[in-house]
Symmetry: C2
Amino acid sequence: MPIRVLGVDPGLTRCGLGVVDVEGNRRATLVAVGVAGTVAGTALDARLLAISEAIELWLDTHTPDVLAVERVFSQLNVSTVMGTAQASGVVIAAAARRGIPVALHTPTEVKAAVTGSGSANKEAVGRMVTKILRLDEMPRPADAADALALAITHAWRRGALGPGHVSSAGSASAGGGPVQGGLTAAQRLWAEAEAKAKRARR
Amino acid sequence: MPIRVLGVDPGLTRCGLGVVDVEGNRRATLVAVGVAGTVAGTALDARLLAISEAIELWLDTHTPDVLAVERVFSQLNVSTVMGTAQASGVVIAAAARRGIPVALHTPTEVKAAVTGSGSANKEAVGRMVTKILRLDEMPRPADAADALALAITHAWRRGALGPGHVSSAGSASAGGGPVQGGLTAAQRLWAEAEAKAKRARR
C-alpha cells in the first residue's frame, strides 16, 4: 500500500503543491503538482483566502495520508517571511482540521534527501525530482518542484524508520526521534542535517 | 447602529480575543473577552488547530462586522514570531472565508489610540481599556486586554474617518488612505504613528 503525501512549499505569491504516491520500496510516482497564490499588492486577507481555498481543494481532491510542509525559519528574507509563515499556518490548520498528520522538514533536510547534498541548489533539486518521479521535464516553477521534493523526503524518511513509523522529529511536534541504522548515503546526510537543525532549534 | 469588532492579538500560547460594540459617538461596550492557546511543546498542528477552532467559535458566536488583528513584524522576538505569524494567518483566513473584512493595526497605533502615547506599556493600555469599557477590573491576561484595545482602535479610527469608511491604510490591503481633520489628541497621535509605520513599511 503506497503512502500518499501532499507536499507544500508555502508562500503568498507562489505556494507550491505536489502530491506523490510512494511505495515501500521507495518508488515514487507523481499524482499532481501545481501552484497557488496571488500577486503582490493584493490584500493580505484575500491572499490567505486563496491559499486556504487551494489547500482545501487539494486535500479534498487527493486525500493525502500526510501533509509535509517546509519548516519556516525567521532567518529568511525579512520582507517575505511573515507572509510565508502566515500561509504555512493556514495550510497546517487545514490539515489539522481534517485529522491529517502534519510533518515539517527543513530545506536542508529536503535537499539532502533528494540530492544527497544539504547545500544543493534549486536546479539540482528540480533535476533529481524529475529523475525520481520519471518525468519528461522538470516541474515549474521551482516552488512546485520543491513541494514534490518535500513530499518525497517525507515518504523516504518515514520508510527509513520502518513501516508505520513517522519520526516524531519530523512531525509537527517539538520532540525528537531516533534515526535507525541501514541508511543510504543520502539518508545519512539528511539525518546529519536534521540533527544539526534540531540542535539549532534548542 | 454600533459596529461590532472582534480584536485578535495572535499567538500560539495565548491568542487574545475581544469583542466590543462601538457607537458612532465612540462609546465602546464589552461584549466578550478571552484567550485561546496551547502550552509550549504541544505539536504545531494541534496548536494551530486550537487557534482555528477558537476563532471559528468566536466568529460564529459574536458575528462581528470586522476583524482587527495585530500586524506582525519580523523584528519581534525571533523564537516566537513564526508561531505568532502562523496563528495570525489562521485567524485572518477564517474571517476571509466568511467574507468578514480584516484590518491590521500595529502595536504602536493601538497604544496611541487608547492611551494617547504610542510608547505606552501594557499596564497603561490595560488601564485605559478598563476605563474606556467601564469595567470593574482590568481584563487578564494582557493578551486579552490587547485584543480589546485592537478592537477599540479599529472602531475609533473608522469613526474618525467618517461613517461607513474603513481606512484602506488600516485594512489588510497594501494601499494607504488619507486621514481627515477633526481629530482628538489621541487620534492625532495614532495618525502620526501610523504615518510613521507606513513610511517604515515602504
